[in-house]
């Protein structure tokens, strides 16, 4: 087991990793920017090192500064959390060269999954269902038009190096393809330094469903079932739940097996999430893989009883899955997470500033992951996630009742938060009945205004 781990992140996920380390008896080293001097991850770590000014590029994304801090603190391993450097294969390589264990998959696997067209082909070879589309990148407009004619419009062109919705265009006809193709190439080249595109059949208003997996370093992979994350606004998830009402026990079992076989072949290690879209016929299609812990991992922890972050630490230190997980993972009850953001609940403008009052709900089945506190400051430099409110009930109805109760007791003053928005969503009959897809928020907001 590791003696000392550096957490290359901030906010609630840094604290989440610190908690897991504490419980395993591992010493922790926090890094922070000048804007986070009074942050809780700094206070609760055994050691803390300031690595730069507030700007991300000069602090949390500054690879030499992070590695240098890891060296002077003499850590065995670095946990990257999510976002920031977590899916940066180059960073994982520097860790390896510096003899520091990167808690995540090997850089080669991260790189493979980062090249979306290659990840798609790898999944296809292993029998994971993918959407009809191009084999690898599309070289020209003519080739794009030919493939689109075969699979039928609408199609979507996506950047091979993509992410965050950039370098992506939905194409509905043969005529508009050339312009949209060029626009996506230019955008991708500017954003990622690589203008290559691939093409997929476009699914209208799909559901977003993802599978959580854990893989050890001895060739074993297990599925921790799915999460449904269809409640999103502009590709930002707002509410997640597990299990999905749409995934049948047979699908869960069979797709789980296929995914595990595929990841074994690829040589995947540590925690990962495979994202799917579900079409109106209830079919799942692979979209991409996230090679890190997810924001919404607590709902899987709630229904499986598995501590995913502890599992990450144990796996990276060489443990086998059968030492970490029970022989058969049971699914128990229903869990829902709300992402509480520091933003105006109607206009979605960010709301940085000092928190004056902060009451966190608790009680049976309620978990709050946050690094905020009364008198705490939400700096304007970073993402707006203030807290994750997670509830666990014996079924979805009980989980909803718990969430409504907990939201009403979650008091944050001094800044604006998305709590009122969440309260409204939980009153929506479609949401309560489970009738939703990724277009839910658009309809909900249109109805509201």
């Amino acid at each position: 087991m590791f003696h000392k781990v550096l957490i290359a992140n901030r906010g609630e996920i840094a604290l989440r990793v610190i908690n897991a380390c504490r419980e395993l008896g591992i010493r922790t080293v926090a890094i922070y920017s000048e804007a986070d001097r009074d942050a809780l991850h700094v206070r609760f770590a055994d050691e803390a090192i300031c690595i730069g000014p507030p700007r991300l590029a000069e602090s949390y994304l500054n690879v030499p500064a992070v590695i240098s801090a890891a060296e002077i603190a003499d850590v065995d391993a670095i946990h990257p959390g999510y976002g920031l450097l977590s899916e940066n294969a180059n960073f994982a390589e520097v860790c390896r060269a510096s003899n520091i264990k990167f808690i995540g998959p090997p850089p080669e696997v991260t790189r493979l999954m980062g090249e979306k067209d290659k990840a798609r082909m790898a999944m296809k070879r292993a029998g994971v269902p993918i959407l009809p589309g191009s084999e690898g990148v599309v070289a020209s407009v003519e080739e794009a038009q030919q493939i689109a004619a075969e699979i039928g419009y609408p199609v979507i062109v996506k950047a091979k190096a993509g992410g965050g919705g950039r370098g992506m265009r939905i194409v509905r006809s043969h005529e508009e393809l050339p312009n949209l193709f060029h626009a996506a190439t230019t955008e991708a080249a500017n954003a990622f330094g690589n203008g290559e595109l691939y093409m997929e059949k476009f699914v209208e208003n799909p559901r977003h469903i993802e599978f959580q997996v854990l893989a050890d370093e001895h060739g074993n992979v297990r599925s921790l079932f799915e999460r449904e994350c269809s409640i999103q606004r502009r590709h930002q998830k707002l509410i997640e739940e597990a299990p999905s009402l749409q995934v049948t026990p047979v699908m869960r079992e069979e797709l789980g097996k296929t995914i595990c076989r595929c990841l074994m072949e690829i040589g995947y290690q540590n925690a990962g999430t495979i994202e799917f879209v579900m079409d109106s016929a209830g079919q799942l299609h692979f979209i991409e893989m996230n090679t890190r812990v997810q924001v919404e991992h607590p709902i899987t922890e709630a229904i499986t009883g598995v501590d995913i972050v502890k599992a990450q630490l144990l796996i990276a230190s060489g443990a086998r899955l059968d030492e970490i997980l029970p022989a058969k993972i049971e699914m128990r009850g229903h869990a829902i997470e709300c992402r509480i953001n520091a933003e105006n609940p109607r206009k979605f403008t960010p709301s940085a500033g000092r928190i004056t009052a902060f009451n966190v709900p608790g009680g049976n089945g309620v978990r709050v992951d946050t690094a905020q506190y009364a008198e705490g400051v939400v700096p304007p430099y970073y993402d707006s996630l203030v807290a994750k409110l997670i509830v666990h009930g014996r079924d979805r109805a009980e989980a909803i009742a718990k969430m409504e109760r907990a939201l009403s007791q979650f008091i944050v003053q001094g800044i604006e938060t998305s709590i009122p928005l969440h309260q409204e969503i939980f009153l929506d009959p479609d949401f309560r009945d489970g009738h939703f897809d990724t277009s839910f928020m658009e309809r909900f907001l249109a109805k509201r205004s």
Binding site: V29, E34, E47, P53, P64, E71, I72, A73
Partner: protein
């Protein structure tokens, strides 16, 4: 607190005073101590000596990083309070070296005059030696870090009387 703890504490306070330590934090789980001394008496000291005295000495590197843990503000405050004193701060996290190579003379010592842009130390980060330049003209009145010490971003290195 047990009588022997009180005796230890007395000895510790004596030692801290002797070495002009400004602030001292100890957290052993069962015992928490926080001591603050008159700022005028403060100056930097070797944490290695403290650990030896305390017996429960953490590993050398943990100790070094612990020195980094406390933000440098308590040390700078009294220095900056003096009019005309400027602190040269580290532009990066890493290990500080006061001389160009082991055994050679330090770049600067107390009493030396420094010019703007003059190299006054080295910070090693990821095996790269980064020369640190003075951003002020004047006389070095205090060295706030020692050779081989781990330092964080923004940590004060030298106090310079600007002229």
């Amino acid at each position: 607190m047990k009588p022997e703890d009180i005796a230890d504490l007395k000895q510790l306070i004596e030692f801290l005073k002797e070495n002009q330590v400004a602030e001292f934090d100890l957290d052993r789980g069962d015992l928490k101590i926080r001591l603050k001394f008159n700022a005028a008496e403060a100056s930097s000291t070797s944490l290695g000596d403290l650990s030896r005295l305390l017996g429960s000495a953490p590993a050398p590197v943990a100790r070094a990083a612990a020195a980094v843990t406390q933000p440098a503000a308590p040390v700078t405050a009294p220095v900056e309070a003096e009019a005309g004193l400027h602190t040269v701060k580290s532009p990066m996290v890493g290990t500080f070296f006061s001389s160009p190579s082991p055994g050679s003379a330090p770049f600067v010592s107390v009493g030396d005059r420094v010019a703007k842009g003059q190299v006054i130390g080295i910070v090693e980060a990821m095996k790269l030696m980064n020369e640190i330049e003075s951003d002020a003209v004047g006389e070095v009145v205090k060295c706030l870090v020692s050779n081989g010490q781990p330092i964080e971003y923004g940590q004060p290195l030298f106090a310079v009387r600007v002229s």
